[in-house]
Symmetry: none
DNA sequence: TATGAATGAGTCTTCATTCAT
DNA sequence: CATGAATGAAGACTCATTCAT
């Protein structure tokens, strides 16, 4: 399995650093190769093309979010608390890796449509988990049963995303995790009805 | 004033069509000129460079949103109703021009960082008006006075934006304006506390 | 006669200023028109095309050199003295108009070959006069009768030109006219044999 | 070292041919690449940009002049003879490569000021060597000790340059090397005083 | 596996010149 | 005579990808 070889991770990590430091459009394959300490051609032994590197960056990192979220869902806590922990997890992960935050919130959005559609496909797994929280909350009577799940999901994700992007654009000047409580309350109000 | 000359608007409109139909990265200046029915060089009598065309597209169209929103704010209706009309306005304007919707929600986001920062500056005017509604709602006791205005604004805009983008990505398959009520209720719950 | 109309001279003078201040490749017709205080199109009422402006600049100014040189030739002085006065004239004229000096010594040389050939044709009239001095000097026994006139002319002009260009490149830091005596002696030695 | 790779010289030689045959302003990079038998992009593996090709052309070829001149200086011959050999060398090298002669005497002079300043810097090394001959001649009593070295240098170089340019402009119709004796005598007279 | 030299397609912008007014 | 808005051709350079070693 290619993914298990050390150079695979090496290249993924190099890509994040290069993109964060140089911007999406200034992140040539040769720069990523140099940062990873391999030859340009070597990249193509692990990734079919450049797009594949970028999708993989997203897949690998999004897995962390999804993995954490799965654990959260399985905990025996209220849906409101799950929502809280989900927001917190999102903020904590991105706060702890500024490079990653810059890449996902700013740089990767400059990708062409084809790439962004693929990134969205990866994102979907995450959003499905969010749906699970929302559905559970409705079933258990915690959330308003008349809300539209899809819209609620878009509100939750849209708000978290907008909040994070604003934080990145403000150059991480304030503490993102500290906003968890307030964001949670706003969103909770939304879904509680 | 260059902006009042017919060719200025002609080029702006051509740019929207070309970008919507060909994608951001396939929208060469020569294509826009052809669509506008002018020579390539004529473009540069009205715009300093390509970036300036794209920023102007955004400015001109965002002005419509802002203009409508200003009128809404001045009406003698509740803040909740203003929020409703704002969402409705957003959805109506983009529903009535699918090309524009594609350009603002998908294509322009592929712009480089410099351009996106300029687009954000334009957007700010719109968000300031949104703040006005929120502040008024709080003052009048309609909205929870403990909410954080900035976060509330990010929630409202993030939700509207995410909703619209999802609609565009689903190729306008369903009616966006019909979602107004539900989105309004979700957001109202959020700010009502 | 077009040349007698005020705008003709106006455009010539504007061209010298614009070229001296902006460089040959940054001297667009529109810039010259602006400096001359006329519309772009007006230029073409007085000059067939851009090349014609530049050739005319050279013609008009070279006429001054030639005119002065003709007067010098007619004076009843030795050939050596004529040579002296010719060098002096060259240095005086260019010293008194730094813009013109920059244009003839540096900027106009960047012209394409076609234009430079035409400039050379203008220059020839001047060189013919120089030949007259040399021939006279030989006939009168002042200069060595075995020298090759053409080569001697190239030495005299090449030296004057090289001296002037060096002075311009050194940003007119020293006094060019002061070099007349030394240059004259060098060249006189050369032709005296 | 890039300069030692065969393609480096290949491109330099191609540039001389293309410029001589098409003129400075009609020497596109793609034409040079084609002549060199490499892809356009390959040019940029060896030269930073187009200007760098042109400066390198000058550097590489001027090195031949300088190299020969150094050997001449070291010979145990009179300064007058050194001056003779210097002129001869100049004429021989350019006579043996008409393309190179056209490029240095006509085409490269159309370069913009920035490039010409860089070319002049290269030329300076050559002129310094000429100064050496002149100084030595003065010290040994061969040349007039009252001449101004700088002016003498400008006379020698200006004359050689003007002679060569005239020869090129006359399309190499006569034999340039044959002029060596006459030019030498003229210049020698000049510096002998 | 790994290398890295070579490839070649693709585009924004300038500016001399024209011509309807 | 004078204007100035409109025209449209033309070229340097980048970078993802390949393939001989």
């Amino acid at each position: 399995m290619k993914k298990d070889k050390p150079k695979y991770k090496q290249i993924i990590d190099a890509a994040i650093i290069v993109i964060a430091e140089n911007g999406y459009h200034q992140s040539q394959v040769s720069k990523i190769a140099k940062q990873a300490g391999v030859a340009d051609g070597t990249i193509y032994l692990y990734f079919k093309n450049k797009e594949e590197i970028l999708v993989s960056v997203f897949e690998e990192k999004m897995e962390i979010f999804a993995h954490n979220l799965k654990e959260i869902i399985q905990q025996e806590i209220s849906s409101s608390e799950k929502l809280y922990k989900m927001i917190e997890n999102h903020f904590v992960v991105l706060s702890s890796d500024h490079h990653l935050a810059t890449v996902t919130q700013l740089e990767l959005r400059q990708a062409n449509l084809a790439l962004r559609l693929r990134i969205n496909a990866v994102l979907r797994n995450y959003l499905v988990l969010l749906d699970t929280i929302l559905k559970e909350g409705i079933e258990q009577g915690e959330f308003d049963r008349t809300i539209d799940i899809r819209l609620a999901r878009q509100m939750v994700f849209g708000t978290i995303d907008e909040t994070t992007t604003t934080w990145v654009m403000n150059e991480h000047k304030y503490n993102l995790v500290d906003l968890t409580g307030k964001v949670h309350r706003l969103l909770l109000n939304g879904v509680k009805g």
